[in-house]
């Protein structure tokens, strides 16, 4: 029996969608709805549903961020990656990107015909999903490719480039030239700024920082990690599809997720 998860911060909309889909698909099993992005991610990773309906605008993580995290953290066993359906009230930009990538999506308020078509499609895709171990991973690869394109299309416009970061430690403000940064790592509400000599914590989200970085110089290799390309010494592809990076001037290793593994394809 297939299972489904709804991530939606408005309780009425979550129960409405669940009722509408249930009518069209009586056999579907429902996990408890998640009211925020973080909860949705945890529930999906723990319960491994076959379908996820992800609202785009949610507190915590957006629907797209949940999808990205799912693709990066999805276990490497034979559990098939869930079929994703994005749900949005009004976002012309996102809808265009979904259309371009042939991603399933619903626009709120959801029209009955549109929902019926979506359910038919999901049923067909679910039935066609291979269950033999090596082929089961194909679903993940396909989802990763789609998401990569989707995230590329949804990237915010470039902002003026950042030259120097200011990191406060007590009463002292350290000025960190951007070219000295080996990598950035998201840590809850903070951002770890790691240079060859030391590291700082600054109050800035990676989401806000990214548009201010030159994408040719700083590569995002994980949803929470951005590394300066010239500081990467080696890249080793693991069997899981992830890539482990060693760095010049630092002993620690960082991991590039399967969403960004294509950056290190070698020659």
């Amino acid at each position: 029996m297939p299972t489904a998860l709804i991530a939606e911060d408005e309780p009425l909309l979550a129960s409405g969608l669940r009722a509408d889909v249930s009518t069209l698909w009586p056999g579907l099993q429902w996990l408890p709805s998640a009211g925020d992005g973080r909860g949705a991610l945890d529930a999906a990773l723990a319960r491994r549903p076959d379908l996820c309906f992800l609202d785009i605008r949610m507190p915590g993580l957006s629907g797209l961020e949940v999808a990205q995290a799912l693709a990066e953290d999805w276990p490497d066993d034979d559990t098939p990656f869930p079929l994703l359906v994005f749900v949005t009230a009004y976002d012309q930009y996102a809808v265009q990107a979904f259309d371009a990538q042939a991603v399933d999506y619903l626009v709120k308020p959801v029209q009955p015909q549109r929902l019926a078509a979506c359910v038919t499609r999901l049923k067909a895709r679910l039935a066609a999903r291979p269950s033999i171990p090596p082929a089961a991973q194909a679903g993940l690869t396909q989802a990763v490719d789609q998401l990569r394109a989707l995230l590329g299309a949804a990237a915010p416009a470039a902002a003026p480039r950042l030259q120097v970061l200011q990191a406060q430690v007590g009463a002292v403000v350290h000025m960190v030239p951007i070219e000295d940064v080996v990598y950035f790592e998201a840590a809850d509400k903070y951002l770890r700024v790691v240079t060859a000599e030391r590291e700082h914590l600054i109050r800035l989200s990676l989401r806000d920082l990214l548009p201010q970085l030159d994408p040719d110089v700083f590569w995002q290799v994980h949803r929470g990690t951005v590394v300066q390309a010239r500081c990467i010494a080696t890249a080793k592809r693991e069997e899981t599809g992830k890539v482990t990076l060693t760095l010049k001037g630092r002993a620690d290793k960082i991991v590039a997720s399967r969403l960004y593994a294509h950056l290190f394809k070698g020659l």
Binding site: D9, E10, P11, L12, L13, S15, G16, A19, G35, D36, R38, G39, R57, P59, G60, A89, Y90, D91, V107, K108, P109, V110, P156, A159, K189, R203, S205, R207, D208, P211
Partner: protein, 357 residues
């Protein structure tokens, strides 16, 4: 001459070309006039003098106008082409005198065989001066009229744009479609509540649309609109949103410009409470302090630090700020600061005398 076509925006030619052409036409007219008074001087000679003197005058007057206009525009703004009558009067007098003097010299040098100078003949001088004055007066009077019309059009366009932006920010599609989606669900499960929600939506839309057409409405109307909006958001956010509205009786009827409070409330929800998983509380209050009216919107949401600085998230606030300046100059203010217990507080102060007028 009074009906010369005005070479401006509608003309496909650059305005300087049209001005030059009109000037040649006037010069030819002056020459014909002078020739009809004293035909013995010969038409070609008359035309030569007229064109040279006329163009010199034009060069001085139009050149000074352009220079002064641009200089003033750069310093003060306004209209680049027209520096204003107090500047133009001396420009016309000095420009004509200079143009006539220089033009006569050039013409004398070209037509050496002529003695005494044609330029010094009294009727010629007189007619030239009169022609130049009329030309300048008519042309620049029209120019000024045009400048005024442009300014009026710009002001009108700005007002219309403001109205449109206000309407757009109020009827934000994301809010509207999410509300409709909730309504659609409620109709099926709780028709009574659906009806109440629809009534709130109708009231909100009606107040919003009305607000873009009036200059003032009583503060209680603004609060009604805020209440309707928060009720709609309450259905959507459920227990994540708690609301408190404080409207003392002594300020209920004070006239205020519409839709100043509303964007602040929306801002608090969108950037303060919606990003929080647990939601939070919003307090909207009004208070009279001497001769100012103090409106405050406080939330215990994510706070200012967490608000992204890029992407025009403060569009609503900017809009309010701009309207305050337009309506009250420096007498009103908007301050957004971190609230003492976390979250954000936006405080709007309006001068009572002005808002009550």
């Amino acid at each position: 001459m009074a009906d010369l076509p005005l070479p401006r925006t509608a003309s496909p030619l650059p305005s300087i070309v049209v001005r030059a052409a009109i000037n040649q036409f006037v010069c030819a007219l002056v020459a014909l006039l002078l020739w009809s008074i004293s035909p013995h001087k010969g038409l070609p000679m008359m035309l030569g003098y007229s064109f040279i003197i006329g163009n010199c005058c034009w060069l001085f007057i139009d050149g000074s106008r352009a220079l002064i206009g641009r200089w003033r525009w750069r310093r003060l703004g306004g209209i680049k082409e027209w520096p204003g009558m107090p500047w133009m009067a001396p420009v016309v007098v000095i420009g004509t005198a200079l143009g006539y003097g220089v033009g006569s010299e050039i013409a004398d040098a070209l037509f050496v065989q002529q003695s005494p100078s044609l330029g010094s003949s009294t009727p010629a001088l007189l007619i030239s001066v009169i022609a130049a004055s009329i030309f300048v007066y008519v042309y620049y009077a029209r120019e000024r009229l045009h400048a005024q019309r442009l300014a009026a059009e710009a002001a009108e366009r700005q007002a219309a744009e403001m109205q449109l932006k206000l309407l757009q920010s109020q009827l934000e599609p994301h809010m509207l479609f999410n509300t409709l989606a909730n309504l659609r669900v409620l109709i099926g499960v709780e028709p009574q509540r659906a009806q109440a929600m629809l009534d709130q939506l109708i009231a909100f839309l009606r107040t919003t649309l009305a607000a873009t057409r009036v200059d003032h409405h009583p503060l209680r109307t603004e609060f009604d609109c805020v209440r309707d909006y928060l009720a709609l958001m309450g259905v959507r956010m459920g227990p994540r949103l708690q609301v408190q509205l404080d409207l003392p009786a002594d300020v209920r009827e004070l006239p205020v410009p519409p839709m100043l409070l509303q964007p602040l409330v929306e801002n608090a929800i969108k950037h303060g409470l919606e990003p929080l998983v647990a939601g939070g509380r919003i307090v909207v209050s009004a208070e009279r302090r001497g001769d100012i009216l103090r409106l405050a919107v406080r939330d215990d949401g994510v706070g200012l630090d967490a608000t992204p600085t890029n992407g025009g998230t403060h569009f609503g606030l900017e809009q309010v700020q701009r309207r305050l300046v337009t309506l009250f100059g420096s007498a009103a203010s908007l301050h957004v600061s971190a609230a003492p217990d976390g979250g954000t507080e936006a405080v709007l102060t309006l001068p009572l005398a002005a808002s009550a007028s």
